[in-house]
């Protein structure tokens, strides 16, 4: 059974086809990676799935419901959450507050109760804080809880963003280059974290440049080139696929 299915998704910018007719599905507990050379349309695809861009064609279906172009906060309510390639952390808030904000849907209630500091409001806030501390422990940031998020290292911020997304208890987690800019140790930590989240039954959709990481943790790989799907399958078959090899070598030639 497919949790998230992408059906013929496409978009054009000023007449240029950025993504064209891409389809695939993600099942619970499965890690699906989208790879491709720079400019292949991976992030554009991600932005369409997560409601940032409105697709020109195709559908995004979550648990049988058409959620195409639905606003990100409504997608969050339905169990889809994402992280960002260029980090979207609440810089001036503490690390703990960042994760607590991930509990927003669970902890928010009447504004009046919040203004008056009623027991109901305090109870909601306390539950969220306990959950957030536990999550910080899971990503190894418990000792940085009271620090301002802006002061963390890049790798820590990546983990913080994942912890915040996990606070939503998502069914589908979209990770946009979670290991970008991280060193080998940090990449391995994130690697373990992703595998752990998937093992708990969350469907994971991943965009990543680090091929070793992708080959190691993915169950299924979708390859994009020039906005189109050129291959799909398990890591072993994809890495042997001539079209994939050509796309990557071609991209390297162009870059060199």
């Amino acid at each position: 059974m497919t949790l998230l299915s992408i059906e013929g998704l496409g978009i054009s910018f000023g007449g240029v086809r950025a993504v064209h007719d891409v389809s695939f599905g993600v099942r619970p507990g499965e890690i699906v990676s989208v790879i491709g050379p720079n400019g292949a349309g991976k992030t554009t695809l991600f932005n369409m799935i997560s409601g940032v861009y409105q697709p020109g064609a195709g559908k995004v279906v979550l648990e049988g419901e058409d959620v195409t172009a639905m606003s990100p906060h409504l997608l969050a309510r339905r169990g889809m959450c994402r992280t960002f390639q260029n980090l979207q952390v609440f810089q001036t808030m503490t690390v703990l507050e960042n994760v607590i904000s991930g509990y927003h849907l669970q902890e928010s209630g009447s504004v009046l109760a919040d203004l008056l500091n009623l027991p109901a409001s305090r109870r909601r806030a306390r539950a969220a804080e306990e959950g957030a501390r536990a999550l910080l422990g899971r990503v190894g940031l418990e000792r940085a809880a009271e620090r301002e998020a802006g002061s963390l290292s890049y790798g820590s911020l990546k983990r913080l963003e994942i912890a915040r997304a996990m606070a939503l208890k998502p069914k589908v987690l979209l990770l946009d280059e979670p290991a970008a800019g991280c060193n080998a140790v940090e990449t391995e930590e994130i690697d373990h974290l992703i595998a752990e989240i998937a093992a708990s039954g969350v469907a994971i959709l991943l965009v990543e440049h680090d091929m070793k990481m992708v080959m190691r943790i993915s169950n299924h790989i979708v390859v994009l080139d020039h906005g189109e799907k050129i291959a799909e399958g398990d890591p072993a078959s994809v890495s042997r696929n001539p079209a994939v090899i050509a796309a990557y070598l071609g991209a390297e030639d162009a870059a060199g």
Binding site: P72, Q88, A128
Partner: protein, 318 residues
């Protein structure tokens, strides 16, 4: 540490309100103090809207005007008790803020500043021109609140200045308490979050437009109550209360003291309320000095006076 921001602010305010009169050379300073508290209340609302939610309003004096004229008109025309007129004004302001904010706050960017500017000017024009109702630019008298007489009967005799000083002080305390509650609550956290990154706020399920609207409505109520208190203690009000300069003054006070901090904003209100009193000797230069102070603060203490100093103290202590 987390408890101290709230309790330190509240304790500081209580101490200030209670102890300041010991140093007053004359009864006149009760009046200045009451004015500081009234402005502090409006500016606390600006902290919620601008300091936390990151939205800018240039028409908040319009809400102060509604609060003030509710106290002037409702008791005369509908026989409403002045205290209830305060509530009525707050209600009207809240509804108006909701109506103006709802379509505007769906948009990204600084549309609220422009829309609220227009709204403030409109309210000011209505107050100036609807002479049959508001008596226009000459102003209108406001009914006596009557609470001082009640207190006198109960054995507590206060001069007019003292009464308004302590009443406005108490209302400011209540306003600061509510704002500080909000800061650490789920709603307050969400407001600060969307200020940091709207994209991330949406991603974690925050209804950004709705949260901004809540902040706008709450801050409108603060401004309205502040306008009501001003009208009631002066027993007279002119449309200037809703004027553009008053809106700018509110934002300036908040930015000067520290728009992210309740205590800072009240400090800013105190400075900018006192300054004209001090500068009466060279009244022509008042605007000049004000402008210079603002420029210097923006260059050297960008977060505002109080947060910048606190940061220096904390940084030096480590």
């Amino acid at each position: 540490m987390r408890l101290t921001v709230k309790s330190a602010t509240l304790l500081g305010l209580v101490a200030l309100i209670a102890l300041a009169p010991l140093f007053f050379p004359s009864g006149f300073y009760y009046r200045v103090g009451a004015l500081i508290f009234v402005n502090g209340l409006a500016v606390t609302g600006i902290v919620i809207l601008t300091g936390w939610a990151g939205q800018i309003s240039l028409g908040h004096a319009g809400f102060a005007g509604i609060g003030a004229y509710a106290c002037a008109l409702a008791p005369v025309h509908w026989g409403l008790h002045p205290a209830l007129a305060v509530v009525l004004g707050a209600g009207v302001s809240a509804v108006l803020a909701w109506l103006v904010g709802r379509p505007i706050l769906r948009l990204k960017g600084y549309y609220l500043a422009v829309a609220s500017l227009g709204m403030g000017i409109l309210i000011s024009m209505v107050l100036n021109n609807e002479r049959a109702l508001t008596r226009g630019p000459d102003g209108i008298e406001v009914a006596e609140l009557g609470l001082r007489a009640v207190l006198k009967d109960a054995g507590l005799e206060l001069s007019n200045g003292q009464f308004w000083y302590f009443l406005c002080g108490l209302v400011l305390l209540a306003g600061a308490w509510l704002a500080l509650n909000l800061h650490d609550s789920p709603t307050g956290r969400a407001l600060r979050a969307l200020h940091g990154s709207e994209v991330a706020a949406r991603t974690v399920g925050m209804d950004v437009a709705r949260l901004k609207l809540q902040a706008f409505v709450i801050s409108a109520v603060y401004a309205s109550v502040s306008g009501s208190l001003l009208a009631l203690q002066n027993k007279f009000i002119t449309p200037d209360v809703a004027g553009f300069m008053h809106s700018v003054e509110m934002v300036t006070m908040a930015v000067l003291g520290g728009v992210g901090s309740v205590f800072g904003a009240i400090f800013g209100a105190a400075v900018l309320t006192l300054l004209p009193q001090v500068l009466t000797v060279f009244a022509e230069y008042e605007q000049l000095v004000l402008g210079a102070v603002m420029v210097l603060v923006m260059i050297f203490l960008r977060e505002g006076v109080v947060p910048s100093i606190l940061r220096k103290i904390r940084g030096g202590g480590e």
